[in-house]
Subunit: 295 residues, 2 copies
C-alpha cells in the first residue's frame, strides 16, 4: 500500500492508471477508521481495480466552535487497518496543499443543503462539496463510495456530481452499526459510559418509526411525535433535529410517499450524533429491547 501525500503525485498516479484502462475507486474519509469505514473500503475494493482512500480532516467543514482540533486522529492505526482491507493507496494531503494562501474557491449545492445539517451547521456542506471536488480532481476516480449515515451528504454529493458533469459513479453504502444498534461514527469515542443509553435512543427511535410505517402510518407528525418522545426521555439527549424529508430533495414532507427519510441529529452530552432511516429499506437492528424506549 502506497502513502501519497502530494496532490500532484496523486494526479500522476491517477493519470497513469487511467492510461492503462484501470478503474479507480475512491473512499473519502477523515480517518480514525471504524468498521463502517472498513465496510466502505470493502465495497470500494469490489468496484475498482485500484482502491484509493483519502484521509483528510477537512477544516472548511467545521465551524470555529466545532471539534476540528479535537477530532480523533491516529494515522498509524488507520494505515494498518486500510492495508488489511486491501487498499492500494492512502491519499493524505496536508492543509498547506489543500488550502494554500489566497485560497478562495467554493462549490455549493444550493437546495439539498438547506435543511437538517445545513440548518444546524451553515458552513458544513460548502466545506464538504468543496473538499470532495478537490479530492475527485486529485484521485480522478471512476467510482466513489459514501456512507449513508451522512445521508444528506450522500444526496448532496450525488447532486453535485450530476450537476457538474463529474462523470463519477457515487455508491451509497448502508449504515454500519454496533451490536447495540448505535450507528458507527468516529465521534462515538467522545461518549461517556453514562451517556450510552441516551446514544442508543437514536437507533431505537428509528426501529420504532419503521414499525409504525410497516403498520401503515404515513403521517410524519405522528411518527415524529413518537420519535421525539423516545429520545427526549433520556436525560443526556437533546434533539437538534428530527425530521421526515423527501429522500432526494431533503425537503420536509407532511406525508410519507415513495421516497422518504427520517433524519435525526441529537446532542448526547457534548457529542452530536446523527442517524437516519430511509422508509422501505432494511434497518438491521437486532436487540431484544429495541422497542423499550417506545413503551
Amino acid at each position: 500500500m502506497k502513502i501519497i501525500d502530494s496532490i500532484v503525485e496523486m494526479q500522476g498516479v491517477a493519470d497513469s492508471l487511467r492510461g492503462l484502462g484501470k478503474r479507480i475507486a475512491l473512499v473519502p474519509t477523515m480517518g480514525y477508521f471504524h468498521e463502517g469505514h472498513l465496510n466502505l473500503m470493502r465495497i470500494g475494493r469490489t468496484l475498482g481495480d485500484y482502491l484509493a482512500v483519502s484521509l483528510y480532516v477537512n477544516p472548511t467543514q467545521f465551524a470555529p466552535t466545532e471539534d476540528f482540533e479535537a477530532y480523533p486522529r491516529d494515522f498509524e492505526r488507520d494505515r494498518k487497518m486500510a492495508e488489511e482491507v486491501g487498499v492500494d493507496a492512502i491519499f493524505c494531503p496536508d492543509s498547506t496543499q489543500m488550502y494554500p494562501e489566497g485560497y478562495q474557491t467554493y462549490v455549493s449545492v444550493m437546495e439539498t443543503t438547506k435543511n437538517l445539517c445545513g440548518r444546524s451547521r451553515p458552513h458544513f456542506f460548502r466545506g464538504v462539496t468543496t473538499v470532495c471536488t478537490k479530492l475527485f480532481h486529485s484521485v480522478k476516480p471512476h467510482v466513489a463510495v459514501f456512507g449513508k449515515k451522512d445521508y444528506q451528504q450522500y444526496v448532496t454529493i450525488c447532486r453535485m456530481v450530476r450537476d457538474l458533469d463529474m462523470g463519477i459513479e457515487i455508491v451509497g453504502a448502508p449504515i454500519t452499526r454496533e451490536p447495540s444498534g448505535l450507528a458507527m461514527s468516529s465521534r462515538n469515542v467522545y461518549l461517556r459510559p453514562e451517556e450510552m443509553e441516551s446514544a442508543l435512543s437514536l437507533s431505537r427511535s428509528l426501529v420504532e418509526a419503521k414499525g409504525m410505517y410497516e403498520k401503515g402510518e404515513r403521517e410524519s407528525r405522528v411518527i415524529l411525535d413518537r420519535v421525539r418522545g423516545i429520545i427526549e426521555r433520556h436525560p443526556h439527549a437533546k434533539i437538534d433535529y428530527a425530521q421526515i424529508c423527501h429522500a432526494a430533495t431533503m425537503d420536509d414532507i407532511p406525508v410519507i410517499g415513495e421516497q422518504a427519510v427520517l433524519a435525526l441529529a441529537v446532542w448526547v452530552g457534548k457529542t452530536r450524533l446523527i442517524d437516519n432511516h430511509v422508509f422501505g429499506e432494511p434497518l438491521d437492528i437486532d436487540h431484544e429491547d429495541s422497542n423499550r424506549g417506545g413503551r
Copy 2:
C-alpha cells in the same frame, strides 16, 4: 471537424484521446466568432494534439435584464470559421443538458470577483466559473485558452483551476483589436455608426494611460482622472467603471506597482464594452490620432 452536442459523447472522446496520450486543448466560447476567437483557436492549435472549441451561450452568466436573448448567434458561420482554423471538434451542448431540471450546483471564486465586473454584474462570475467547470469536466482538457480582454475572468479562472486542483494549464491570450484600436467583441455588432467614435475612447484612453506610465506616472488617481476625461467627453459613452487594480487580486491600488491593470467598462449607447491594459505589457494600437481624445 466533428460537431459534438452530447456531454457524454464529449467525455467519451476525451477519455479515448487521453488514453492514447493525446494532449487536449480547449477554447471556451459563446460563439459568433471574430478574429479574436480565431486567434485563441490558433494558439490552442499549437498547444494540443486535439483542439476542441466549446460553443455555448451560457444563460447563468446573464442577469434577467441583460442581453442573453439578443446575444448574436450564427452557428453555420462559426462552424466554417472554426474548420478553417483547424479545430478538431466543436462542443455545443444545449441547455437541457447543461442545466437540467433540479440543477443547483455553483462554483464561486470569492475574492477576485468582488470588484469591477463582479460589482456591476453580481451573478456574472458565478455563472462563468460554474459553466467553465462543467466544460472542463466534459472536454477534460490539458490546456485551455482564455482571452485577456476579459481580464478579470482570466484571473478568476486561473484562481479556480489552481484552488480546485483541476490540473489544467490556463493560457491567457492578448487582446485582438480592430485597426481602429477597438477591442474585438461579439457585442461590437450592436454599435451604431454614430457610436463608433465613443467606442474608440476606451482604447484611446488606454494608450494615453500607457504613455503616462512610461513617462513615470504611478498615481492611479492621476491616470484615472485623465482616462475618465477622455471617455466622458464622448456623448454616447457612460463609464461603468474605470479602475486600476492589482493584476492578480483585482483589488484597487492607489499606486501602480509590479502587477497592475487598468480596467474599463463603458456603456456606449446600449452596448457595454470592456477593455484593459496591463501596465508594462505591449499595447499595439497604431493609429495616428490615438492621443486625440486626450488633448
